[in-house]
């Protein structure tokens, strides 16, 4: 392979980083895993020895350079080692989602032509065996956990321990070949192949080179000043690019320790025991933990509840400011310090966040309240924006420049470009090589100059230089005035209110934006109960004047926040209605993953959409619904349409409502 540059002292591959770590951090823990109730650990030099034994064993099984080795299972040290061992022996690791069904697995195994499969346990082995007839390429299946597999035909099935033992026995015979293979690895050779989850169409195999992974890991590790004493908990799927960067790339680059939970169900407990310093979780995770905490606080005694409420109020006010190093009064500082002892410390500890120095979230929009909750506890929670094709990092938030509504500045080495339609493009050393065996998709995603289309629309904020993602590019449109229309951005803002379950915003090609809103029956029902408002059904509650007034308050608040935003001030919601039925996947209004199907809703409730724009204050409508047993019926209702106050903005030529 032609290497243009070898900038990092010959550290051109993960095996090379492993050798450096074994020499430099030999006696420091590299991996930990809880087993039999005790945290077992392996130092970097022990890790190097284990990996070498697997690599030699793979050679003994006849692995050839360029062979794909599929890795399937939950996060366990031995499976991480297997990936490095495969690389050492000249192979390409292909981690596969452990929860994929046999059919999905068959597609991936067939597409990459895996010769060897390394599986965690019987469950994964069974899936591979089920589809093996169609996959003549598979020569060997290796498993880690022998349980339940003793009776299986072992002609092509091996336990990982046996493979290692064979490797160790053949040490003298195969070592020179292993060294030869390892030294042949080039900077632009494939490091790993990761399959995108494929929400639309077949999964695509994203080929990432050593350059992609190492450059990205180096840059991002330096960005957050990660060091060898950091700790992470590896609990997200091994087949996901994030885990590969956090638990492999960055771990090998900086030499920090990767901790594997005992079982997926013990993750919370293990997190608490380990107390990682560097942590990633999707927004949903942060939300769930708050809900769990608040529910427990509801059951707490009065004093505790009062303490919690009082100090959380203080934390919301001063916590994020303290974190960002902004000025805070002396009294507040003292009170915060007291809160640290009684409330914040224990809450952080319970959540396993006592030692967190850097925490990231990404994947979807996070509610500002959720975001601020964690930050007010003194946790440096930040957002990043990334893709498999970028080896994760496109943008990330620097310390002290953290906000809920941006995804940060371009990561080191990343160039950003926004095209005329508003779509975000990037170019970086982490940009993937190609989609495996799929040149058309490669060509339509990555242009000749290396720019990659994200499929998301966004803009770079003047002044701060932060990127803000507003929507999927295909959903973004223009209003009649020419102003930008980004429905999902507005919908997310509305949905951050607990009372609003779902929102659908219209406005593409129209004079102003208008919205359908679904109330959250649990939250609003709870509110109604506390305020002695009687209701018999969703429909009745949804049309209650007080509920409408409450929702109007939310909408107007959203309008005020949109007005402050020069790009999206045109998206203020001028008129809205609360739908008389809940949007439902059974009626085709939502997808099975609970995403709104805009076009179908627009057609189905066409009369209501018209009413939003013709100035009427109420509209009689009938809607067909499907009951759970499959029968059809219809709901009749007179839906009220309300005007919401909007904030006048000077820029684009907007007409006020009516």
């Amino acid at each position: 392979m032609a290497n243009t540059a070898q900038p990092h002292g010959g550290l051109v591959s993960i095996p090379a980083l492993l050798s450096r770590n074994a020499a430099q951090f030999g006696s420091k823990a590299a991996y930990r895993e809880k087993e039999f109730g005790i945290w077992q650990s392996w130092t970097w030099s022990e890790t190097a020895e284990e990996i070498e034994a697997i690599a030699l064993g793979l050679l003994a099984l006849g692995i050839e350079p360029g062979d794909h080795v599929a890795i399937i299972g939950r996060n366990r040290p031995a499976l991480y080692w297997s990936m490095v061992a495969a690389q050492k022996a000249g192979g390409i690791p292909v981690p596969i989602y452990q929860d994929s069904v046999a059919e999905e697995m068959a597609y991936v195994l067939d597409h990459c032509g895996a010769k060897i499969v390394i599986a965690g346990d019987q469950e994964q082995v069974d899936k591979v065996l089920e589809v093996q007839d169609r996959l003549p390429e598979i020569r060997h299946i290796i498993y880690q956990d022998a349980r339940g597999l003793r009776k299986y035909d072992h002609s092509h099935l091996h336990s990982l321990a046996d493979v290692q033992a064979e490797g160790r026995a053949a040490h003298d015979r195969l070592m020179s070949e292993l060294n030869r293979r390892e030294s042949a690895i080039g900077y632009d050779d494939t490091c790993v192949m990761l399959y995108t989850s494929g929400t639309t169409g077949r999964p695509k195999g994203v080929v990432l080179s050593n350059r992609n992974i190492i450059e990205t890991s180096k840059a991002s590790a330096e960005f957050d000043r990660l060091v060898s004493s950091d700790e992470v908990l590896a609990y997200l799927p091994m087949a996901w690019v994030g885990d590969f960067i956090f638990s492999m790339g960055q771990a090998y680059w900086t030499g920090f320790c990767v901790n594997c939970p005992e079982r997926p169900e013990t993750m919370y407990e293990n997190l608490h025991e380990i107390g990682p310093t560097y942590f990633f979780a999707p927004p949903r995770y942060f939300e769930e933990r708050i809900t769990a905490l608040l529910i427990r606080m509801e059951d707490a005694g009065r004093l505790k509840k009062w303490l919690f409420d009082t100090f959380m109020e203080l934390a919301r006010r001063v916590g994020p400011r303290l974190l960002d190093g902004k000025p805070v009064g002396l009294m507040d500082r003292i009170k915060y310090a007291i809160g640290q002892v009684f409330i914040y410390g224990p809450v952080r500890s319970r959540a396993g966040m006592s030692n967190v120095r850097v925490a990231y979230t990404a994947g979807e929009a996070i509610g500002p309240e959720i975001f601020d909750f964690w930050r007010s506890l003194g946790i440096n929670l930040k957002q990043l924006y990334g893709q498999t094709e970028a080896s994760v990092f496109i943008t990330q938030q620097p310390d002290n420049e953290v906000r809920a509504d941006t995804v940060g500045v371009p990561s080191p080495g990343v160039e950003l470009r926004i095209d005329d339609s508003g779509e975000v493009y990037y170019r970086s050393p982490g940009v993937f090589v190609e989609y495996y065996k799929n040149p058309e998709s490669t060509a339509s995603t990555k242009d000749a100059e290396g720019w990659v289309a994200t499929g998301d629309a966004g803009f770079i904020e003047e002044g701060t230089g932060h990127l803000r993602i507003i929507d999927r590019a295909k959903d973004v449109g223009k209003m009649a005035s020419g102003a930008l229309f980004a429905p999902k951005y507005v919908e997310n803002k509305l949905k951050f209110y607990p009372n609003i379950l779902e929102a659908v915003v219209f406005g593409n090609g129209r004079d102003y934006c208008a919205a359908f809103i679904n109330i959250d029956l649990t939250a609003v029902g709870n509110w109604a109960e506390r305020n002695n408002i009687a209701y018999g059904s969703y429909q009745e509650l949804a049309s209650h004047p007080q509920v409408l007034a409450m929702i109007q308050g939310h909408v107007e608040e959203v309008n005020r926040s949109l007005a402050a935003d020069e790009m999206l001030s045109g998206c203020q919601v001028h008129r809205f209605l609360v739908l008389h039925k809940q949007l439902d996947a059974d009626d085709g209004e939502l997808t099975r993953t609970q995403k709104v199907r805009r076009r179908i809703i627009e057609q189905k409730f066409g009369d209501l959409v018209t009413a939003l724009y013709d100035g009427s204050t109420e509209k009689y409508t009938e809607t067909e619904v499907t009951y759970e047993d499959g029968r059809k019926g219809s709901i009749k209702a007179t839906v009220q349409i309300r005007d919401a106050a909007v904030v006048e903005v000077r820029t684009p030529t907007l007409e006020a409502a009516e």
Binding site: G37, R147, E262, R263, E265, T266
Partner: protein
Amino acid sequence: MDGQTSTVTPDGRTIGGVVMEMRNITLRFGGVIAIKDISFDVRHGEIRAIIGPNGAGKSSMLNVISGFYNPQEGEVWYKGEKRKPMKPYQVARQGIARTFQNIALFDGMTVLDNIMTGRLNHMKASILDQAIWWGRAEREEVANRQKAEEVIDFLEIQSIRKTPVGRLPYGLKKRVELARALVAEPEILLLDEPMAGMNVEEKEDMCRFILDVNDEFGTTIVLIEHDMGVVMDISDRVVVMDYGKKIGDGVPDEVRNNPDVIDAYLGVAHD
């Protein structure tokens, strides 16, 4: 009857010679005859089921094996020797462990502590040793904890290790009971309706654990079960009882086609 040769089942398990034999057992409670002249054997490494309608005497039979009842007539042969009338703890020391139809765990104690009680027969340290916590007591505790952890890992109950048993749902309690029986490292495991009251998913899990225990540790299993589907799927041989009498004995297919059994229990044969 050939009690010595060993056979290999189609799924690759080895079933050895007879390890336990019931010879003409009769058990009476006053005038009521619970078990009437029953004989059968249990081979090493097999899964042996005892089935029958309510009141057939299945649990009584299990209680005879576990030493809870001593039959008025008949003999229990264990490992080629006739067993003298024994107390349950003596039976347990011989390597026979059991679970109960109605869960018998200590609700206030954690899962781990409950499981550790199953190691009682492996504890040799005196009260004094235990009190000063030195030498043998400590070594034993470590060894026992290790065994308990192996079983916890095997039954996949790590996440409830420190949870008080009283807070657990029924299906998990059953699993904890099985764990407690397993840590005793029994040669014969007696399961009294291990799947009673479980939903389909819990039953499937339990089936898998029973098969895995038999497979991994080579433990001989005697189980009583109501769920016919389960019994026919997992057992090697089945004894059928009705009104205290044995009305069938053999591999599941033989039993299924035995007219007496069909009359008494199965009702209509399904095929």
